[in-house]
């Protein structure tokens, strides 16, 4: 079905939506301002407590570089949360992609990169079909594909990490410097994350992607308005897993090997980042930049705790409290 097939009434309804969304935009801008205020507050307090170390350029560059994988994966989670679901399989897709990327490296990058991305895409299509056509809850579907993804990655490597392809080739040396090269004082992996952010933003403006908010907000209304709900959802799951597999490539470039245990915390961290970013977990709302800011806030908190010498053991306590507290503040605002 193309744009032309959508009934005129639906087009008019969509136009009306567009008009009323000007008002929503201001609400969204206000919430973005609050998020920005939170961000500035964390940065300021962190700078004070760490005697300015937090905001030193080399430290900031470190924070960004260390969290490049999460920056990419949060984009995937963002799409699924906006569509009204959760994606627990992002970490498994990351692990699987990192393993396949390294495992196929002796056929050259022209094979191993597409192979890794295709594996991710395949998981996404399975997720999408089960959620969309079999109508299973996304939480359980992605719980199932998460287990499958990790298990396939482990079978590939025999459980451990994987340094070489079938015939003993390793990742080419120039690629391993990917993480240590800066361009305009920003590390290359961060540029890649920004590039994926731009592509995701483009997807959200595409003929199929821009319906995602409507579908996540109220799928029934969207269907009645003539929006191809199933196609929108299926595409979102496919795109999300594709993005997560890019995270797997980044992971492999960072450490120099593929790891079937990579990204064990990515699913929960990305959901935490998305919720700190103020994206509604019931779907249909949120801006893509807020997910990015959410990661930045989590990353800065991690960094501040390290700078202050907070024990690694106590850090999950702070993180958990912050997630609950921010979502509490957002939920009060909505009511």
């Amino acid at each position: 079905m193309s744009q032309a097939d959508v009934e005129p009434q639906a087009v008019r309804a969509a136009e009306r939506n567009e008009k009323t969304s000007i008002r929503n935009l201001t609400v969204e801008q206000v919430s973005n301002l609050r998020l920005l205020a939170l961000f500035v507050a964390v940065a300021a307090i962190g700078a004070l407590l760490s005697h300015g170390v937090l905001l030193r350029p080399e430290n900031l560059s470190n924070i960004l570089q260390q969290n490049a994988v999460l920056f990419v994966v949060v984009l995937a989670q963002f799409l699924i949360v906006v569509s009204g679901g959760f994606d627990l399989s992002v970490g498994a897709v990351t692990a699987l992609a990192s393993v396949i990327f390294v495992g196929c490296i002796d056929y050259g990058l022209a094979v191993s990169i597409p192979a890794a991305l295709l594996a991710g895409l395949a998981v996404g299509v399975v997720n999408g079909v089960l959620v969309t056509f079999v109508r299973l809850p996304s939480f359980v579907v992605t719980l199932g594909t998460m287990q499958i993804g990790y298990s396939v990655a482990k079978m590939w490597t025999g459980g451990g990490t994987i340094q070489t392809g079938f015939r003993g080739a390793t990742l080419p040396q120039p690629l391993l410097r990917f993480y240590s090269v800066d361009w305009l004082h920003v590390p290359l992996p961060v540029w890649l994350a920004i590039g994926i952010l731009a592509l995701t933003a483009l997807y959200l403006r595409s003929s199929i992607g821009h319906f995602l908010f409507a579908v996540g907000g109220n799928a029934r209304a969207a269907r009645l308005a003539g929006i191809p709900v199933s196609r929108v959802r299926l595409t979102a799951y496919a795109v999300a897993s594709l993005i997560a597999s890019v995270g797997g490539l980044l992971f492999a470039l960072r450490v120099g090997y593929g790891d079937p245990q990579a990204g064990t915390w990515l699913a929960l961290d990305s959901i935490a980042a998305v919720s700190i970013g103020g994206v509604s977990l019931t779907g249909g709302e949120g801006s893509i930049l807020s997910g990015f800011l959410g990661v930045l806030i989590i990353a800065m908190l991690d960094n501040i705790m390290n700078l202050l010498g907070v024990s690694v053991n106590a850090q999950p306590i702070v993180k958990g409290v912050i997630v609950i507290a921010t979502v509490y503040i957002y939920s009060r605002r909505r009511s």
Partner: protein
């Protein structure tokens, strides 16, 4: 109208599947029916079964508990730390109560704020793990008391005691859900929360109770794991919440609340245990487990979905 045998098939599909799988395992794997093998499965899956029994009422109210694994760790660490002071019996009670306290925090937050249950328990999962790690300084704490370590090795008529505890817990929960007014309220709240509130049910009380119960089962699981290992480990129970959710889903419960039965959960736990053992005995890659379990979860879900849509069509 479906005929009675067909209805039994759809109501007790998981139980029948578990029995069939058990028979298949017994026939194809000579090592399956040995005392050693059955004892191993019985212990591991009794622990998982206990928290699955705790997870069921939470899921029946359309909520979820992701903090069970961390509550297990807190209980394990509290037990190991306080045992020298309180003695093992007192420390075990305190450990179970510590699990219940995690549940109480979850229940209060879910009932009295608008934070989704998923986020609340995601947060307490992180906080709980951090607490267990901080209390223990990240190190496993030994509990070297032979009497305590023999606790999980007790047998009655050659049946492992932990398995009997699980079966007893299942019977008790089934009775409570069917007969106790609050048990009926659990189904009402999950079926339609607004209606339940309007009929005068105390919805916050129900939710707090189900979360406390879930925390208590996790506390008990933590005590059993500590007794088995001889150490209170701050990383024990990692990922257990996802296994317990899987068992409940395989057992035919709906994540949207109001639908699910104890017999299904027991069958779900046994199915996972038998599958686990079959994969181990068959000598294939142990990493195949995840794939098989994932496929079973998805298949069970598709089955119950088909069942529900058929019931709706009737």
């Amino acid at each position: 109208m479906t005929t009675p045998p067909l209805r039994a098939l759809s109501n007790y599909g998981q139980v029948i599947a578990a029995l069939l799988l058990f028979a298949a395992a017994a026939l194809t794997e000579p090592a399956f029916l040995t005392r050693f093998n059955l004892t191993g499965i019985a212990f591991q899956y009794s622990v998982i079964g206990l928290i699955a029994l705790g997870q069921l009422p939470v899921i029946l109210t359309a909520c979820i508990d992701l903090s069970q694994g961390s509550a297990i760790a807190i209980a394990a660490v509290v037990l190991a730390l306080t045992a020298p002071v309180l003695g093992l019996a007192g420390a075990s009670v305190l450990a179970i109560l510590a699990g219940g306290a995690v549940g109480a925090v979850n229940g209060l937050l879910v009932s009295f704020t608008r934070i989704p249950a998923f986020v609340v328990t995601l947060g307490t999962m992180s906080v709980g793990r951090g607490l267990a790690l901080t209390l223990s300084s990240g190190q496993p704490i030994p509990v070297r008391d032979p009497a305590f370590m023999n606790l999980v090795r007790l047998r009655f008529f050659d049946v492992p005691g932990t398995f009997l505890v699980f079966l007893f817990g299942a019977g008790l929960l089934a009775l409570l859900l069917a007969q106790w007014p609050v048990g009926r309220a659990v189904y009402a709240v999950g079926g339609h929360e607004e209606n339940a509130r309007l009929t005068g049910l105390n919805v916050p009380k129900v939710k707090i109770l189900v979360y406390v119960l879930s925390g208590l089962t996790a506390g008990l699981a933590g005590v059993l794991l500590t007794s088995r290992l001889g150490t209170g480990h701050p990383l024990s129970g990692t990922g257990y919440e996802l296994i317990s959710i899987s068992a409940v889903i395989i057992g035919g419960a709906s994540l949207f609340g109001g639908i699910g039965r104890v017999s299904g959960v027991v069958a779900g736990v046994l199915l996972l245990g038998i599958l686990d053992s079959m994969i181990n005995l068959s000598g294939t890659s142990p990493y195949l487990q995840g794939t098989i379990k994932g496929v079973v979860v998805l298949a069970a879900l598709a089955f119950s979905q088909w069942n529900l849509s058929r019931a709706a069509a009737r």
